[in-house]
């Protein structure tokens, strides 16, 4: 069982409906909506591009840091090996 309300009424005249018919207003709204949609899409693409650039920058920074760390490690281990060899000689 539903709780819908049922009413009987007089038929609405087409002249009265005509008052609500306005195609130019509809087109105006449609154009505005499309413009908003386009602007929103542009903003979204811009945001995605910026995010990608930030990600790339972070990745490059991380790789550089890792390389630096590796080089430092290498240098340390080389120094250690050299020290050991020197210790052995003397």
């Amino acid at each position: 069982m539903s709780n819908n309300e049922i009413r009987l009424r007089k038929q609405i005249s087409s002249g009265r409906i005509k008052n609500y018919r306005n195609y130019s207003a509809l087109m105006h709204r449609h154009k505005r909506d499309m413009m908003i949609k386009r602007a929103w899409n542009l903003l979204l693409y811009f945001f995605i591009v910026v995010m990608l650039m930030v990600l790339c920058f972070v990745a490059v920074q991380y790789v550089k840091k890792q390389q630096l760390k590796n080089e430092e490690k290498k240098a340390k281990s080389t120094a250690l090996v050299l020290n050991l060899r020197l210790d052995k000689r003397y």
Binding site: S2, N4, E5, R9, I17, Y20, Y23, M34
Partner: protein, 186 residues
Amino acid sequence: MSEEEIQHEYAILERSKRNPNAFGELYEKYFDRIFNFIYRQTDDEELTSDLCSQTFLNALKNLERYEFRGVPFSAWLYKIASNEVNKHYRKLKQDKVFSLEEVRVRELIDISNEGWDEELIQQLLNFLKDLPTDMLQVLELRFFEDKNFKEIAFILDITESGAKMRTYRALDRLRKNFNLTITYNE
């Protein structure tokens, strides 16, 4: 609707995809019908006007996605309108209003021998009030909008047999309760 008319509408739709101004012809053609369809479910002219505009706006916006599925373009508009009305009622969490044209109800129902009196009208309204919303929707589309079962199924997103079943069940109940003869062609 003839094959020729469907083809003509399809051509307008194709043109409208490139130039939205071409959609005006379909707007003029279907505005009254969609307005009446929504008005029957709201009983509020201003609200109907808003929902009707939103319906055509959504149709324009999604024109690219429209594809012919064996039903006229109008069925697609009815589907959008129906969704808009449902969305409105969901948002307000209100019960639906069905306002039926008295003239149309009289046209559809021949009351054998008894005549048309106020008491019977009230009984009929009470009976319709107790019908589930999905049955009322099917009855509205079938008897007030003259849609065939294929179109009703498309509009309400149900199967064709489901649409038939709902209609016949509602009609059975009407016949049992009121001993009415309902004039319509299957």
